[in-house]
Symmetry: C2
Subunit: 472 residues, 2 copies
């Protein structure tokens, strides 16, 4: 070989030798475990001096290479002090989990191989593993054996996908001509307690935010199916085209489950696509004791279930599951010259919003295989029990429960003599002893408490209750 | 504490003790490094017996917990044998990289802390780190100092975001009323050699696939800006509303760069949003020698640059960069009760398609800080040199180069006496010696060869050339 003709060396900062890589990985294994232990003993809240942080950050001008060991230590420190800790056992927060270990290992494997999940030609085994998990979830939800779907970056993407499917099925010319193909304005229906992302979704899909109907609730956070039927019927009379009804199984605000069967009946009688947003609550399917709460979910045309919520994988790992997969091939088809594809119905680039995509599904595959349905059942039941313990302790101190969820979200208000909710939450968060949200439930201001960490103890519950009391 | 009242134990398969976790992580460090070395010595192509694999996969019914060590070994084996190897130095393929080490470490850190990137209230430090990287990219591209943007799950999401921004800016009533608010059908413009995902994007945004105009190219894979001006003008005459011109900087088929400044001039004269899809080619900004090829990119209203392509982070790590960030707050605004937000312009849930999201930006932050622009410059220059070496060797054997890319994609046809392209590629792939794509360039069937691995050697180049010759 003519060495004068040789290529420059690979960039060592990007492609270090094996020994150097292993040294860093071993360091990270220890450092991340240490940080995790420190977090559990420390403040739930970020304690970073943001002014100093911004100054340090501004210093990164990328003008010259820097030691990766120092960079990693700096990054770990910023994450240890510069974010609300999802991995703290007293994060009683939004649906952000302490991620389960098998999902973190799956992430490592996927990072190392970096398979391209666009096509089954590129990644036959990964594509089939994802499809297998989706089928298992679909069957668990009671959908037919040929139900299918795919992993998504987020629950929002899955909900958005349901709207694209509904529009595509409702009007054959939608694909070519878009929203103008409909005979009138279209509408989609969800409840006042739904996730607010639906508003962005209506904007993004080109139907406009005014297409979103927020149906009245029953006073207990659940969509009123009679009101739903009425709104849909009135819309039709006025030339509006109803395309999608989206019930929620586990609302963000109160953990409530819409009457899934009644909403399904309205959708069926109106010939409208029926979606169930079970982004968080869907994990209750794992529990023999709790899955009955989701009765009616088997009537859905499509489902959103996020593995990165109650299944507690790392973010983001959403799922879109649907009864009749054929519509995906209509909504997301493309023609290309260059893709190594079998053009099979499994090819994600032909059946999903995404193109290049990470191998997301291994996280839930490994976690579900390691724990079994029984393990995940115990995981969700334990969270429900944590919230039951919080509830009884707060009630014993005169607090009032405002929602009546069978899942793991509690909305409370303090006794009359205690301070205002805004102030209680502010004081609690600045104490760093626990994290809860200020929210509203059925229009009433509440403190929202959700069990998200699979290792929260009774001592953590007691600490939360004491901290809430002190904060008042 | 009343122990009869105690909570059940955490599920050990999901939350193992520290010792057990570290044992698995140490095992993975070794096993993934071993697998990586075996891959480089083996076949680029999957060698899995798919019938047997499907049988094994069907056996996972999740009915009872399984040993996680065995599951991890099984998963690594399926990835080692069941996917085209992006990490093989002779994967001369689509824009899927062998991921750089700092991005894999970033993934580990992010998996462990699992911060929620929806809001700056939850994750002040991560949100600012991402914004810092985006600003650095924007400045490198020559955009003004107040340019902004965000990380996306994919390049498709970033391109899609450009269309939503363009629609939102073009018609104030688009947000509320959707596509019907426009006075006529809308249109978006890209070239015949653009990425085919634009067709899905037009469908998803509700404007319809017929809104997509594939403008003629100049015979060398670049959009013909005169043809573009003509198509836009004719559309306007006919009552069509032009909303977006999307040039490509580094086409998938041929690595070609549209005439960015001329396309910008058309967009400006027509008052149309100007987007540059530099998903792959944008990394050339790192190189002092190559960045001039992207002249005109500084005129864009918005850019797509994927960190998971030529910057070689793990998938998926896209970026959307834009000149005037205000439109994001109009397109993606929402009102919520429960979000811990500063409602700052940095809050991703108020300014992006996504809601719950992984901390993506740490991958590029760490890699760019470790290598510096200079390291990434060397990385992209090396890839260009790899392709120059392939080209000169194939030309010496009578092959003909069909494209004239200054980047790292080569389209070739074999000498007349050699076999058909379809057969050559099929034979090459079944040999497992290298991976190339069969594609088309300017309507002509070609073999497409792209340097994607930062450690490809001259010996790999020789092996590719010999393998292609043998396959003919």
């Amino acid at each position: 070989m003519n060495t004068s003709d040789d290529l420059p060396s690979p960039v060592p900062a990007l492609f270090p030798a094996r020994g150097a890589r292993e040294r860093v990985d071993d360091l990270l294994t220890r450092e991340l475990a240490n940080a995790n232990e420190r977090i559990a003993r420390g403040s739930v809240m970020p304690r970073l001096d943001m002014a100093r942080f911004r100054q340090e950050l501004a210093g990164f001008d990328f003008e010259r290479p820097q030691s990766v060991e120092q960079l990693l230590a700096w990054s770990v420190a910023q994450l240890e002090h510069g974010a609300v800790h999802m991995t703290h056992p007293r994060y009683f927060g939004l649906f952000n989990p302490a991620p389960v270990a098998p999902s973190q290992w799956a992430d490592r494997i996927v990072s190392a191989f970096n398979p391209q999940l666009a096509s089954s030609g590129s990644s036959p085994a990964p594509v089939e593993i994802e499809a297998h998990v989706i089928r298992a979830i679909a069957r668990r939800a009671g959908l037919p054996a040929d139900a299918a779907g795919h992993f998504t970056a987020s629950g929002s993407e899955a909900n958005y996908t349901s709207l694209i499917c509904a529009l595509t099925r409702a009007e054959p010319r939608f694909s070519a001509e878009g929203v103008r193909a409909f005979s009138g304005p279209v509408a989609l229906y969800t409840s006042r307690e739904c996730h607010p992302a639906w508003s962005k979704i209506a904007h993004q899909a080109g139907v406009g935010r005014s297409a979103l109907r927020l149906v009245a609730t029953d006073g207990n956070g659940r969509m009123d199916s009679h009101a739903l039927a009425g709104v849909v019927a009135r819309d039709r009379e006025q030339g509006v085209v109803p395309v999608l009804i989206a019930a929620t199984a586990g609302t963000t605000g109160g953990g409530m489950i819409d009457p899934l069967a009644s909403c399904a009946a309205v959708a069926r009688s109106q010939g409208v696509w029926y979606h169930v947003d079970a982004a968080w609550g869907g994990a209750a399917l794992a529990s023999e004791r709790l899955r009955g709460l989701l009765a009616g979910i088997e009537l859905a045309d499509s489902l959103t279930i996020d593995a990165h919520k109650w299944f507690a994988t790392t973010m983001g790992c959403g799922m879109f599951v649907l009864r009749d997969a054929a519509v995906l091939s209509e909504a997301f088809r493309v023609a290309t010259d260059f893709m190594p594809s079998n053009a099979s119905s499994l090819d994600p680039y032909l059946t999903t919003v995404q193109w290049s995509r990470r191998f997301l599904g291994l996280r839930l595959f490994l976690s579900l295989a390691a724990a079994g349905w029984i393990g995940y059942g115990a995981h969700v039941e334990r969270a429900v029990e944590v919230i039951a313990q919080v509830k009884s302790r707060l009630q014993a101190r005169g607090w009032q429960a405002i929602n009546d969820s069978s899942l793991a979200v509690l909305c409370v208000v303090p006794p009359a003599e205690t301070g205002e909710i805004r102030e209680i939450v502010r004081n609690l968060l600045s104490s760093g002893r626990a994290w809860v949200a200020r929210s509203t439930f059925e229009g009433r201001e509440v403190i929202r408490i959700c069990a998200t960490h699979g290792e929260t103890t009774l001592a953590d519950v007691d600490e939360l209750v004491s901290a809430l009391h002190t904060a008042g």
